[in-house]
Symmetry: C2
Subunit: 345 residues, 2 copies
DNA sequence: GTCTGCTACCCAATCGTTTGGGTAGCGAGG
DNA sequence: CCTCGCTACCCAAACGATTGGGTAGCAGAC
């Protein structure tokens, strides 16, 4: 811990103090293995490093990037950080970026197209080296523009064909749930499917449907309800589903834990006991799931790793490497909300 | 929406194109009301602005701050963004900062002292203009160091005597809960008090105790359990409290919604029906509270505003204004979890 | 004795803005 | 005619780091 304010001492100061030229000091402090490579005499290098440490020298990043044209800044855009899922992914991002000596800006777009555009412009006007986009919509028009403008970016959480992304294998996640519910004897099921513009919602739903049908089950279109990713959305959707007495399901798959929690509320209000009368399974296994009064079954997705992978991918892109999208495998955590056999009616 | 990458056109380019000097262009584009004040002829100013807009000129912030010694960057440090409370406050920060043309870095410190120090250093090495500290510990040693180093900063969410902060009036919040529980007939109560190093925990607890005692109630030390701010912590604390058969309370105040949710889980496991056998009240009124199977009573704190106020305060400090801490008033939202009369035993 | 190759440096331009200090040109007042 | 005060600009020096291109000095080879 230095006791002075960073920025008070510059490269030039160091150089003057030691009777060297700033460029020499720069090379010593910056070059990694240049010590022995004609950059400077080992003794000099040591002197420089010692002084730098002693006076708490820290290079001015704006000055450096003015010259190098790289800011070591990454922009992250998410729908909202108050969505626990994105917040956790961001923790992974922060960690990985920090390790690579990058800093991150993060902004909320509320999944609003105009806001997305605005935030992107703000990020670019800050001259970020690249973007991590966590709010991609399936009609990826903004992404095409970014490509044209040659802005380096990768997607996170939501995937769009043609762009590299770090996501959970949502299709598999949906399939795991279908298998689980089928195994427990459920034949009439519904899905609270999330927002249609999000690949997470679409893939989890289609993964679920495909597997369920492959097992011999039937899911009519009417059993799929698209709704916002939050508790309110889940509650309303579940209400609709459960009030349809023609076809009341014995199990509901909500593609998001918060929607699942809302669904539990709706079930409760209708006098259904979740975990006995009705099975509910969520997605993401947020920290709440296991702690609810009736513990919620959920698909655990490696959120931290998704964030970290997104950074790795973006750094790859910046480095002009060939990068491949990564798709991390989820696992199913069965808990009280669905841990029972459906007895034939 | 420009179709080129920001940074491709500079002040010098604009000047050359118009046959002007870069400094003239700078003054026109930067000066607010300088148009008529001898800075430039109105016609010229218009030409400059038109061209700037047309070619999508956006000034290079690193170059500007190299010269001006101000980065228009704010650093925000929070325990964890995956804590909904801080995430929402951050949304307020982002909004207010954006309005003032500042950008924000946010980092998680996990309430770990070493990490707090590290993150502060990272922020300072990025040359932020100031810091918003959302993870202050009551033994504010780091803060003293920052003061000595003349780093501009303000506190958010947690207050420490002697430093300016934007917080909820936690003492009042605690008092509101005490009054409510007392009014409903509860005489034996317990508090899940949170972490001792956080002013939020301490103030909410002491506000509660003071009011309860002022009303004539008794709260022994043993009725106060300090625990982490999450579901696990709340669950464990509630378990301890409820298993103490010598003094089983009819109501529990958890200073945080997540802890309250954990407590609900514990109550449930012990066969107690929250909202009939046991009253539980949380704090912050996070979006989940109202949607839980048994809706949770909670003290609503103006989280967004706290974030916004923190930015205002910090900008004030940067502007060398005299600033006063702000303390926003909370309100109590009574819901099913505590909306019943305690009948005398 | 010259040339080559190496070490250990130095020099100066450059990145894009900002800003204190000019100055040319013009009309008006004395 | 000189001076004053405008207006509408221009000039150049910063800010701090980076980097391509030197160069002085020395050792060894031919």
């Amino acid at each position: 811990m230095t006791d002075i304010r960073p920025g008070s001492v510059t490269l030039k100061d160091l150089a003057a103090e030691l009777g060297l030229h700033p460029s020499t000091v720069s090379r010593i402090l910056h070059g990694e293995s240049d010590t022995a490579r004609g950059a400077a005499a080992p003794a000099t290098a040591q002197r420089v490093r010692d002084l730098a440490k002693k006076v708490g020298y820290s290079p001015d990043p704006q000055a450096a990037s003015l010259r190098t044209r790289r800011t070591h800044l990454l922009g992250v855009i998410v729908p909202r950080l108050s969505d626990l899922v994105l917040a956790v992914m961001y923790e992974g991002i922060e960690e990985a970026a920090d390790d690579a000596n990058y800093s991150t800006f993060v902004m909320n777009s509320r999944d609003d197209t105009a806001m997305q555009r605005r935030k992107v412009e703000v990020m670019l006007s800050r001259r970020v080296d690249g973007l991590i986009i966590g709010d991609a919509h399936l009609d990826g028009n903004i992404l095409d523009e970014l490509s044209v403008r040659q802005v380096p970016f990768v997607l996170m959480n939501r995937a769009i064909a043609g762009f590299t992304s770090a996501t959970c294998d949502d299709t598999l996640g949906g399939a795991l749930v279908a298998q689980h519910l089928w195994d427990r004897g459920h034949r009439v099921v519904s899905v609270i499917a999330g927002e249609k513009y999000a690949s997470t919602a679409v893939d989890r739903t289609s993964g679920f449907i495909s597997r369920f049908r492959a097992l011999g089950g039937a899911i009519p279109e009417s059993a799929i309800v698209w709704a916002p990713f939050d508790t309110m959305g889940g509650r309303a959707a579940a209400d609709t589903i459960l009030r349809n007495t023609n076809r009341r399901p014995s199990a509901i798959f909500a593609v998001n834990d918060f929607a699942a929690i809302g669904a539990m509320g709706a079930a409760n209000s209708l006098g259904l006991l979740v975990g006995r009368d009705l099975a509910i399974v969520g997605f993401n296994d947020t920290s709440l799931a296991a702690q609810l009064p009736i513990a919620l079954s959920s698909v655990r997705s490696p959120m931290l790793d998704i964030g970290r992978e997104a950074v790795k991918l973006l750094l790859g892109v910046l480095n002009a490497d060939r990068v491949e999208s990564v798709r991390l495998a989820p696992t199913l955590c069965v808990r009280a909300s669905s841990d029972f056999e459906r007895t034939a009616t």
